[in-house]
């Protein structure tokens, strides 16, 4: 009897202990491709989803100074009051959205935590969560962990990967509760203008949806200013605005983000936040405050530098025969590789092995991503030029095989 129990315990698959919702999450396609790339040598990578700039020295220096002064303690759960104040001021100045730093702003561990908090606070089992795709890879898995049902809405290159009111309307059912938006978009570089947003806002209103708007790339738009979904008439109370310091201020490793929303939503998110992480690290908060106070000039310099490289890659892809819509935000181009007759994954693999260039196959970003590859242009001009040249040779070779 006893023996039996022991045997059955030791032979038990540890996976059986897992929450089925966690067990059934598919491993990320990016992860798989990462493993493939990590083994390769001498490659140029266009696969990186973060700035190539180091955090500006004045920001790093401010953090070092605060450490010297012994600023190493917890802060208030929602984040240092002066930082929340500065975030509120910044959002008002830059995007004309006004939040009360006391009740409507929460400092988080990266924008990622803010997304997680918002989804955990809002998603109930069975809720349908609308997610325009291709999009950043984290939304659907976190929705699923909460028992929600992610409903992808495909967007298309012909629309510059904008979310259209028709597509949104068609995806709505009585179970629809949340809409998760990410514009400027990772991976497509697509943006939404004020005119693009208006009909979307109407549908949101009519169907009583809540919106989680991930605006982490808000500072990285070219030729026009970003329009925050929360700034649209009547949308502020319906929107959880998520953003952070990673992309605009080249601060990915600091893990500094924030969420802004209706006081009731922030209070709920704050409950989860205080029980899970207590508060965002004080070093990061000090650095973030410095970035907001004195980082404008360097930020603008970085944005201009991305813009130059954006023009370079778009022209480059078009010249080697890849169709490429003009990305107007973030630092990604999303060229089509359909003319090669290969799938995204096949193309990305040949690109890696034959041309020594890494880019992320578009299908990992959900519906509408197949047939495209994501190329980050946050890398040096010399590397970009070389990568496009190598890619061009490969495309020619593939087309000759056809």
């Amino acid at each position: 009897m006893i023996n039996d129990t022991i045997t059955s315990k030791s032979s038990r698959n540890m996976g059986d202990y897992l929450n089925p919702l966690v067990r059934s999450i598919k491993p990320s396609g990016i992860r798989k491709f990462f493993d493939l790339v990590s083994g390769s040598k001498d490659i140029i990578t266009l696969g990186v989803g973060e700035p190539d700039f180091c955090t500006p020295w004045h920001v790093r220096e401010a953090c070092v100074y605060s450490l010297e002064r012994g600023k190493t303690k917890y802060t208030s759960n929602a984040g240092m009051p002066e930082l929340r104040e500065a975030i509120g001021q910044y959002l008002d100045d830059s995007f004309q959205v006004t939040y009360d730093p006391d009740k409507e702003i929460l400092v988080t561990v990266g924008g990622s935590e803010a997304i997680d908090l918002a989804l955990r606070a809002l998603v109930c089992p069975g809720d349908e969560i609308l997610v325009p795709e291709p999009c950043y890879i984290s939304y659907s898995p976190i929705i699923s962990i909460g028992g929600g049902v992610p409903v992808g809405i495909e967007t298309f290159a012909k629309d510059e990967f904008k979310l259209t009111p028709e597509a949104l309307q068609a995806a709505i059912t009585p179970k629809s509760k949340l809409l998760v938006l990410c514009y400027p978009s990772n991976p497509t570089g697509g943006i939404m203008t004020y005119e693009d947003w208006l009909p979307i806002a109407k549908i949101v209103e009519d169907n009583d949806l809540i919106v989680i708007s991930d605006e982490i790339y808000a500072e990285l738009t070219y030729d026009q200013k970003h329009v925050s979904f929360a700034s649209l008439p009547g949308m502020k109370d319906r929107t959880v605005l998520v953003s952070g310091f990673s992309k605009a201020f080249a601060m990915t490793g600091w893990r500094m983000g924030y969420a802004c929303a209706h006081p009731d939503l922030i209070a709920a998110m704050l409950k989860i936040h205080q029980y899970t992480v207590m508060c965002a690290p004080i070093m990061g908060q000090v650095a973030a405050l410095e970035a907001l106070k004195n980082g404008k000039e360097e930020k603008e310099h970085m944005v201009e530098s991305y813009n130059m490289r954006r023009r370079l890659v778009v022209k480059g892809f078009r010249e080697i025969g890849l169709e490429c819509h003009e990305p107007q935000g973030a630092f990604y181009a999303f060229p089509s590789i359909q003319s090669t007759g290969l799938t995204s994954e096949q193309f990305a693999e040949r690109l890696l092995y034959e041309a020594k260039v890494a880019a992320v196959p578009g299908d990992v970003f959900g519906q509408g991503g197949e047939g495209f590859i994501r190329c980050s242009y946050a890398t040096s001009v010399a590397q970009l030029t070389e990568a496009i040249e190598r890619m061009g040779k490969l495309v020619t070779k593939i087309k000759q095989e056809m």
């Binding site: 990462f34 990578t45 696969g47 990186v48 190539d52 130059m308 370079l312 001009v381």
Partner: protein, 166 residues
Amino acid sequence: MKELSELSLNILKLLKEDARRSPDLLATMLGVEESAVQTAINEMEADHVIVKYATVVNWSKVDEEKVTALIEVQITPERERGFEGIAERIYLFPQVKSVYLMSGAYDLLVEVEGKNLREVANFVSDKLSPIQSVLSTKTHFILKKYKQDGIIFEEREDDQRLVISP
């Protein structure tokens, strides 16, 4: 002095980073026609706004004996010409690499290069000090160059990013 257009300023910034960038590449990066870039460059070359396309060399990597000194020079300005005449007399020496007119405790800062300490010392005692209007000199030898003209000399492994990230 003439005011430069925004395009010209942007071209200068990009050329300062890498002088070998072609007009075609510059035009793409700036979103303008190549001919506009070419015209702007031609104008700046003609106006001597662009003086030269030189190479930044880290001589400490090269096994060649070379010492550089910065010399503070106090002078009496000349009637009519002020500092210009003396500055010219000094900068025409080929071993003089740069000359600045300074505010503060001295007048000219002169960068001198020589094969060794003695050569620089000889320059100071034989050429520089004897100039009539030179009142005094103070020579500082450079031990190491970390950064010059915005360019850091040390090779830094700055890109520590993961090769693929979401």
